[in-house]
């Protein structure tokens, strides 16, 4: 088998000279890292069209869409903390959570509109309601959720219309979990291997990540005496996020490799360390204000790193034809064709 690839930059690898077989590309050379997980699928040789991707990669801008995923999660879970804080008489926890939810969801909407190729047509999102389109469902969800959080935050700031504020807080807490998890369906409902093949676990990863982000914000902003629920939510969220992510990678097969290479690998490694570290600080930091701030910052950054890592891993898996072709070949072989 040839050890060279002909790319637009010329021949790479050993030149096989006149023996060059044409039309096939030798299988990938695995970029293995010293540490980290061992590959779960044996090296596969496959054919491709000059190594070009089968799929068109997402055109989304990373900052906009990964940011949108992150802020949506932060907002959704913050609404839960806001409602909990309100019901259990922790105004110092409820207030920053309400403001955080409103701020995050506004920014996330801005990012979504900014990413559109035709931002002026953003209202077309509400032209139809299509259950087959997670983006359509999400748009309607946000159209209901964003005004509720804004109302909750506005009444909090104004200190008036308490009843309206409570109702809005409660309603936003009902929609919040859906806002935090539907974004996983948004990614999974594509042909992108690393997103689609994780569709069972990704919503749980995002749910955990949303919980850690929101509790991070609460830990940083709420008085320590009232931050107990945020501390516990942080620990539970971190456990859910890290556990679901491991399960996802284990079950995914070949495309899981794209989480362990290059930039996604760095981002996800950072996310793991920050989330675990932040949760540990929250658990053992007691009522030290500075430790709470550090823990909050770590959790917020960790959640963001996770979203960017998942985003970039998906793009990388769409750019390499191996992740499209090899699993499909295996599927065909399993069906006996």
């Amino acid at each position: 088998m040839s050890e060279s690839d002909v790319t637009r930059h010329g021949v790479q690898g050993t030149r096989p000279g006149r023996e060059a077989p044409t039309g096939t590309r030798a299988g990938r050379r695995r970029r293995r890292r010293g540490r980290g997980e061992q590959p779960m699928v044996p090296d596969a040789t496959f054919s491709s069209y000059y190594g070009k991707p089968v799929l068109n990669k997402p055109t989304w801008k990373p900052l906009d869409i990964a940011g949108y995923l992150y802020l949506g999660g932060l907002a959704g879970a913050s609404s839960l903390l806001a409602a909990g804080g309100q019901v259990t008489g922790r105004p110092g926890l409820a207030a920053p959570a309400k403001l955080g939810a409103a701020g995050a969801i506004s920014l996330s909407l801005a990012a979504l509109v900014h990413d559109l190729g035709r931002p002026a047509r953003f209202l077309n999102m509400l032209r139809v309601l299509k259950p087959t389109s997670p983006m359509s469902v999400g748009s309607w969800l946000l159209a209901g959720y964003a005004p509720l959080t804004l109302t909750a935050a506005a009444t909090e700031v104004a200190g008036r219309w308490r009843l309206l504020g409570s109702a809005a807080t409660a309603a936003s807490a009902v929609l919040g979990p859906a806002v935090a998890t539907y974004t996983a369906v948004l990614l999974s409902d594509t042909a992108v291997p690393a997103w689609h093949e994780g569709y069972r676990e990704l919503p749980f990863v995002f749910a955990g990540s949303a919980a850690t982000a929101a509790s991070g914000l609460a830990l940083a902003a709420a008085p320590t005496a009232e931050a107990g629920p945020a501390r516990r939510t942080a620990v539970l969220g971190a456990a859910l996020e890290l556990g679901a992510f491991r399960t996802m990678k284990r079950r995914m097969g070949l495309p899981a490799e794209s989480f362990d290479q290059g930039r996604p690998h760095l981002l996800l490694r950072a996310a793991e360390l920050l989330t675990a570290g932040g949760a540990a600080l929250a658990l053992f930091g007691g009522r030290d204000r500075r430790l709470a701030l550090a823990s909050g910052a770590a959790l917020l950054t960790g959640s963001a790193a996770l979203r960017f890592g998942v985003f970039h891993a998906g793009v990388a898996s769409a750019e390499d034809p191996a992740y499209t072709v090899v699993p499909q070949r295996e599927r065909l072989a399993a069906r006996g064709r």
Partner: protein, 338 residues
Amino acid sequence: MSEGDEVRGNLLYGPQPDVAGASGYPDAPPRMGFFTDTSVCIGCKACEVACKEWNAIPEDGLELTGMSYDNTQSLGADTWRHVAFIEQRKPFGGQEPGVAHEDVDVFAAAARLGTDAASPGPGATAPPPGPAPEGAPAGQISPLSPDGRTELRWLMASDVCKHCTHAACLDVCPTGALFRTEFGTVVVQEDVCNGCGYCVPACPYGVIDQRKDDGRVWKCTLCYDRLGVGMEPACAKSCPTDSIQFGPLEELRERARDRVAQLRAAGVTDARLYGENPEDGVGGDGAFFLLLDDPEVYGLPPDPVVTTRDLPDMWRHAALAAASLAALALGGFLRRPR
């Protein structure tokens, strides 16, 4: 399977004999499509040019890739027909000098041999095949030609939007810009698309893409405007070898089956259809192909599945995850036993 399952299954997945009907056209014309027979494609790219001309698609770079004669590389916003070009060291089926010239009277030609300088006869251009080189199994095509040259074949294939029975691009479009026409094809309404880009990673074939300076997405319309007035699409019209055939899908499928049988009988055992099966992962393609090698060699996915097949399951998992998130926050607020 209950009846409800079947109905739902056919909306998102599985065979769907009446695509236009299922999309709300009561008296739809027959479903139209392409059959691209790559075995006769000569790689002239007339289809690419005709498509660009008719649809007024902007120029998108005239670069030589260095990998082959293919300078368009893949389908995208500004390439709705793409001719793939593959060079292989394999014999092209029953490739033999001098076959299929039944209309040539060899005896008459032989009688003239050596007497007519202007007509050197068949022997001059095609030397008689010598004995098969060692190692070639008896009765099979030899990997080496008689004079020791290596066998070589060029595969050319004109790729296009598949106009899937279950089109992921259409399913995920939040604005309804992508729609199903009465001909069963899939078309973008450019006055509705807001450039959200969701359809781009949803397509399992990598067809639809965003035009950067314009913001919206573009792809093959199967010349919806021409179909409407009873004309065939520009690419099929321009194809000099009839590699691109246009017509009612049922008819094309029949013709394709005959063609595969014919090629196989002629020794082209590699010939196979791609995308014609209504039982496949996208419910069958409206534009399907006859290929001479594995689909991935041409840059096509070997077993594409419409992503929305799993959508009900995705929503279920997301609902469970949302419930866990709520439970988790509730757990956070529960007082620890003292």
